[in-house]
């Protein structure tokens, strides 16, 4: 029931959008498939290039997952370090912001210089893109511990470490997952942007590489298929992270209840 209630409106919108797309491609863009291929063309291109699409998607997935994992570990550890004292926060947080505001495209050449034209460089771009929301939300969560509970832990002589594991970290989980959800999509975008700029060491490459190829060949239908694959990849990533968050928080947090 819940599934039907959630899925039906979304599917109706998807059908309407595809219908409108088909209408456009059959009228205004009739005979201009290189600008807007019809849904049938895109489906055909998908079938024809299935092996390349799957390979590229898996390759991008791998880079995004690695970048994301790195961002989770360093983001949560970094936020935990900064949450230890105001001084540490004041000294380090501006650099976390800088990492977010520096244009990745602009430092990509530097990354290539340091790490080479390979997957590792792509992973690093994905990592940089997804780090900040995790750091920022984790810090917010670690700082919003209830004062009464903090006093309770202090009264019963809980060490800083015990308070962290039993109070502050679990209390921060809803915030941490808010950050993780944002970063899930960003890590995929980061991987694709990275591939755009850096390419890949091996022949096949991920979706970013394939998108550049398809553009060069004016193979717009395949380009569409790849964009759709990239979008779905980010979307599925987001859904999986959301589901894990709901599973962990379902017993106690409002955000994971209802429906």
């Amino acid at each position: 029931m819940a599934f039907a209630r959630n899925a039906v409106p979304v599917l109706v919108v998807a059908l309407l959008a595809i219908g409108f797309w088909w209408l456009l491609s059959a009228t205004v863009y009739q005979g201009k498939g290189y600008l807007l291929p019809s849904p049938q063309d895109v489906a055909a291109a998908t079938a024809e290039n299935a092996a390349v699409l799957v390979g590229a998607t898996l390759s991008t997935l791998k880079e995004a997952l690695l970048g994301y994992a790195l961002a989770i570990v360093l983001g949560i550890v970094g936020a935990a370090v900064m949450a230890q004292s105001r001084l540490l926060e004041r000294s380090l947080y501006p650099y976390a912001v800088l990492l977010q505001t520096v244009p990745v495209v602009a430092i990509a050449p530097l990354i290539v210089l340091w790490f080479g034209y390979n997957e590792l460089s792509v992973v690093i771009v994905s990592f940089i893109m997804s780090l900040f929301p995790i750091i920022n939300n984790t810090m917010l969560g670690l700082r919003s511990t209830s004062r009464n509970l903090a006093e309770l832990f202090a009264l019963h002589r809980a060490s800083g470490l015990v308070s962290f594991w039993k109070l502050r970290l679990p209390g921060a989980l809803p915030h941490i997952f808010a950050g993780l959800r944002i970063s899930a999509g960003l890590s995929v975008i980061g991987a694709i942007v990275g591939e755009f700029i850096i390419g890949s060491g091996n022949a096949e490459g991920g979706l970013g590489v394939q998108i550049v190829f398809a553009q060069g060949r004016m193979y717009t239908a395949l380009l569409f298929a790849e964009v759709i694959a990239a979008t779905l990849l980010g979307f599925v990533f987001f859904l999986v992270v959301s589901a894990i968050g709901r599973l962990l928080l379902r017993h106690w947090h409002e955000s994971a209840q209802g429906d």
């Binding site: 209830s146 009464n148 509970l149 006093e151 309770l152 109070l167 679990p170 989980l173 017993h251 106690w252």
Partner: protein, 257 residues
């Protein structure tokens, strides 16, 4: 008074928050108070008079600016907040075990004592529930159970019943009173509810507006166990009237000054 006969003693205790040229905020005037072991004392006073600060000084959560707070060694102290202050991600039983866990008791030990305390407050059967599934009154019972499981010699209560509805409050007052008689701890209750203070206490400490000082300490002569009907009696009305008069008198003096 010294040593044996005192559960907790305050001598010349005052508290000023903030410092420097603006002299900070004098939250609490000078307070002297000695609590006898096993007695139940309520502290009433207008909002902002520093009664919660006084309780936090007794708990050791806040250091007094002047004076000292003395407590015999080896007395377990537990604190109950106005909000139940539970860990929402822990089940009822895991919440009840928390304080003993923090104090380093053995798991077998704290499991048994938490179960006992839950039964005592009438939460047996809810062990696996989560706090959000409980009513406000049940959450407060759980907060009490968590404190009682520690078998405290001193139980400090900071307006624990201010947030529950009136009917629940009456019931919880009776339960709290009977828990106190069973467990035998020294109780200090901060409240703005004069009826609650008189109903539960051996003595009621009445405080002035900020910076709070002790205006009067009123003995409550009624025998324990007290029955709910006591609330309707003339003697009870006279005593609550007396406490209210002390509170009001000070207000009037402040207003005309």
């Amino acid at each position: 008074m010294s040593g044996q006969g005192v559960a907790i003693g305050l001598e010349g205790v005052s508290k000023r928050f903030g410092a420097g040229r603006d002299e900070g905020l004098q939250a609490l005037g000078t307070v002297d108070l000695a609590l006898r072991p096993g007695e139940f004392v309520s502290i009433v006073g207008p909002s902002g008079c520093g009664k919660s600060t006084l309780l936090r000084i007794m708990a050791g959560l806040v250091a007094p600016s002047t004076g000292r707070c003395t407590r015999p060694d080896g007395i377990a102290t537990a604190f109950v907040f106005q909000e139940a202050a539970l860990l929402p991600w822990r089940t009822v039983e895991r919440n009840a075990q928390l304080l003993m866990e923090l104090e380093g008791h053995a798991p077998a030990d704290y499991r048994a004592r938490a179960a006992e305390a839950l039964a005592l407050v009438g939460l047996a059967g809810f062990e696996k529930s989560y706090p959000h599934q409980l009513s406000g009154g049940m959450r407060m019972r759980l907060s009490l159970a968590r404190a009682l499981a520690l078998r405290p010699g001193l139980l400090l209560l900071d307006e624990p019943l201010a947030a529950v509805d009136e009917l629940t409050r009456d019931v919880l007052q009776e339960e709290l009173s009977s828990l106190w008689r069973q467990a035998g701890f020294t109780g200090v209750l901060v409240t703005h509810n004069v009826h609650e203070a008189v109903y539960l206490s051996n003595r009621v400490v009445v405080m002035s507006p900020r910076p709070g000082r002790v205006l009067d300490v009123i003995e409550v002569p009624f025998e324990f166990p007290r029955q709910p009907e006591l609330r309707a009696s003339a003697g009870f009305a006279a005593l609550t009237g007396q406490v209210t008069a002390v509170l009001r008198g000070q207000h009037r003096a402040e207003a005309s000054a």
